[in-house]
Symmetry: C2
Subunit: 335 residues, 2 copies
């Protein structure tokens, strides 16, 4: 492994994203990326007795279907995270999978952290890891905001938590000959510019995304021209504009290369999702469903993936704390 | 890195626990290990306005004091976890440290996971990582159980969450010439035998601890005679007895080698702590304060460390779910 600068690590081994699997709910399946997801549920309860059970079922389904598709692989480890208190979705998925397990948490950037930790494990000598990141609109709303039954109004810059789960198989072997590799990672720092509006996650996350992109380019002595696309997690179009203007202050112009999963997953104008999608599953399903297929087809060859997270808890916000952000970047490339 | 069996990885590089730091509250400092901790606060609010702020201050203090003691080292990464929703203590510590950050979560076994992930990073090529695990009696009580002001009675087998934080510097360089290494890890699986009593964390965690110990011995073709001590996280004496009898069913007899941090940190008879200590800080402070010093002095040379965690959330318990456990083992050895 080669360390560049302060935050970036490029791998010496070939570390493959050997396969992916995405599971979404009905609203996500009515959006523009519908045809790319592997599986959808037409009922966001998935026939279960609680939304928490439904989220757990989606996450378990994503991991199990991925492992069934690749049944020659027995993963060394399962790594994942979600938004629920004590990452209970992921822990209960681990109970079902019966694979050695590390729980991770970095809010909506959890897929980025999971991919990074998994890559590090393969670089150190593991053969393969299965990773997931999941979220559910109804579990997130009642935990972070208010009971759905209240029908609270929210501002236009609020976001809609994606219901679903994305899974990936990180491996030293390219079992499906897709050729998609994680070439390197840039580990994010926690950045806090003092945002306190719990409806404005984009503003809380943008500084961390910008910080991570600046570090990635400086550490690796590259610029946006290296990549076909620079893909953030859940900033939405509104946050994407903030990001581009913040980066322009550093003379970095990513506007023509920038895409955001929160802007892509829903038809923001017609699906009543406020400014767009959010949640751990926003990046994980769009990457596992959409971008991974584009990489496999070599329609795109180099993408910088930067899932973004807001590090708040209801308690921290109620106690008057501001909301720090974090973003973890990984380079997904096909030769 | 050499994989043995299904869950165990032994490192080819020399990976040192170069230094540690422990911070505790007043009750812990009145216990039998008082003289071993690096720092204590006589006020469990640490002069802050909330217990959450106090926990954060303790965690930040542990990490900062450790880095100040070792100021020739600039860690590549900070890895840590805690019990609060969205691991907010650790994330806010990361905001202060300004070091690339991965948040992890495996309840009270978080120090074991953090040490394992950090070792994996050093094996892959990083130079050093700082890790922490923290908890606070008053933040845990009000989040997991009931407001302290209610003065609820609890059963004799309940536990007392340790107030404090433990930090360690995992490095490829033995900067202080202590000679203490992490030779290998055994990554735990989630094990659930159906315990539903949220006051009986020991019973929920014991099956996972036993599973991890059985895997460790089988994977490495060793038995308890290899170690001076086998140290669990927070099973207390009561859980320790359960563990030993569960292992005896597998013909593994660890009783003469077994110690538990939850049994050691308090004077269980006189300190009114129910059956003993618990929490992320139970293992992290006792290891960082007590056992690390014994290893440095070579009073003990080989210990198997197995912090133990119960993977519940208040929501999962209220929804009738059972409580799975997990345990992550690492081999701390000095030559």
């Amino acid at each position: 492994m080669i360390k560049n600068g302060n935050q970036s690590f490029n791998f010496e081994k070939k570390i493959y994203i050997a396969d992916t699997y995405s599971v979404v709910g009905p609203k996500e399946n009515s959006g523009p990326l519908s045809s790319y997801f592997h599986k959808y549920f037409s009922d966001d309860l998935c026939g279960k007795t609680s939304y928490e059970n439904a989220e757990q079922f989606m996450c378990t389904t994503a991991a199990e279907e991925l492992l069934m598709k690749n049944n020659t692989i027995k993963p060394d480890i399962y790594i994942g995270g979600d938004l629920l208190n004590q990452i209970i979705t992921t822990s209960f998925t681990a109970r079902k999978l019966n694979v050695p397990y590390w729980g991770i948490y970095s809010a909506c950037s959890s897929f980025g952290e999971a991919a990074s930790v998994a890559s590090m494990c393969v670089e150190a000598g593991m053969k393969s890891a299965v990773i997931t990141a999941s979220s559910h609109f109804s579990t997130a709303e009642r935990q972070y905001r208010a009971p759905l039954e209240l029908g609270n109004q929210r501002p236009a810059w609020a976001q809609w938590t994606v219901t679903g789960a994305g899974a990936a198989l990180i491996s030293d072997t390219d079992v499906n000959k897709n050729g998609v590799m994680i070439k390197g990672i840039t580990i994010g720092k926690v950045v806090d510019l003092g945002v306190t509006d719990t409806d404005n996650m984009s503003a809380a996350m943008v500084p961390a995304a910008a910080d991570c992109i600046v570090a990635h380019f400086e550490d690796n002595s590259i610029d946006e021209s290296y990549y076909d696309f620079i893909i953030t997690g859940d900033l939405t179009s509104y946050g994407g504009e903030l990001l581009c203007s913040l980066l322009e202050q550093n003379n970095i112009k990513i506007k023509s290369k920038h895409l955001d999963c929160g802007a892509l997953i829903f038809d923001t104008k017609n699906q009543h999702v406020y400014s767009g999608g959010s949640g751990c599953a926003c990046f994980s399903t769009v990457f596992s469903g959409y971008f991974y297929q584009l990489l496999c087809k070599k329609a795109i060859k180099r993408v910088l993936c930067i899932p973004t997270g807001a590090l708040l808890s209801p308690t921290s916000s109620q106690q008057g704390e501001s909301i720090p952000g974090v973003a973890h970047a990984f380079r997904a490339e096909v030769e």
